[in-house]
């Protein structure tokens, strides 16, 4: 899973250690999340989103990159 944690953390002026401290995990956890190696638990994802002032679905992007918000009904053609 890809994430925008690094981008939003930098924009917020936080170091990895700052963010780790605020969400109560180790700094290595933040590094692994930013590298896309470690998928956080749902509670951690919500804590990260809250600290980075965003939404979970804007913070993490699944690798299959499907957009669940876009639904095309069978009687509608894609535009």
């Amino acid at each position: 899973m890809r994430s925008r944690v690094r981008e939003l953390r930098s924009a917020a002026g936080l170091t990895q250690a700052d963010l780790a401290d605020r969400v109560s995990v180790s700094r290595r956890t933040i590094i692994s999340i930013e590298q896309g190696r470690f998928d956080p638990s749902l509670p951690l994802a919500f804590r990260l989103a809250r600290v980075l002032d965003t939404r979970v679905d804007e913070l993490f992007i699944p690798d299959d990159d499907g957009d669940p918000a876009v639904v095309v009904r069978s009687d509608e053609g894609a535009v």
Binding site: S26, R27, R28, T29, R37
Partner: protein, 140 residues
Amino acid sequence: MLSRVTRTLVTTTVVLVTVGGLLGVLVGDDAPADALDGVLVGLAVAVAVGVHLLVRSAAGRGVEASAPESAEDSVERRVWVAASSAAFVDAVSVLVLVVLLGLWSDGEWSRWLPLAGLAAVLVDLGVRVRRGWREQVGGA
């Protein structure tokens, strides 16, 4: 917390020593001597349980227990939990194998079976932790 551990330990010791003594009388031919053997076995098991409880208690009270690496959502904790869960299943299989080999073997070497089993389980755990670490964290 220490008093709770102590209470558990005292209760466990009394129960194990009593059960050991009763089993010694019921199973053995020489009642007083077998009862004493049973009590000693019960005491040995109680000592093992006591060491286990004290180590767990010490780990829970140690500095590491409150460190961020021990937090539920930290990658270190997740790697450890995943590795130990997988190793537990393997450990049960190794235990069954050790028991079966122990039942069918009558050689002197059979006394080394538990040690070999323990070594296999520890190596398995180490390999799984290392593999999980490389996947989730990277590096060596």
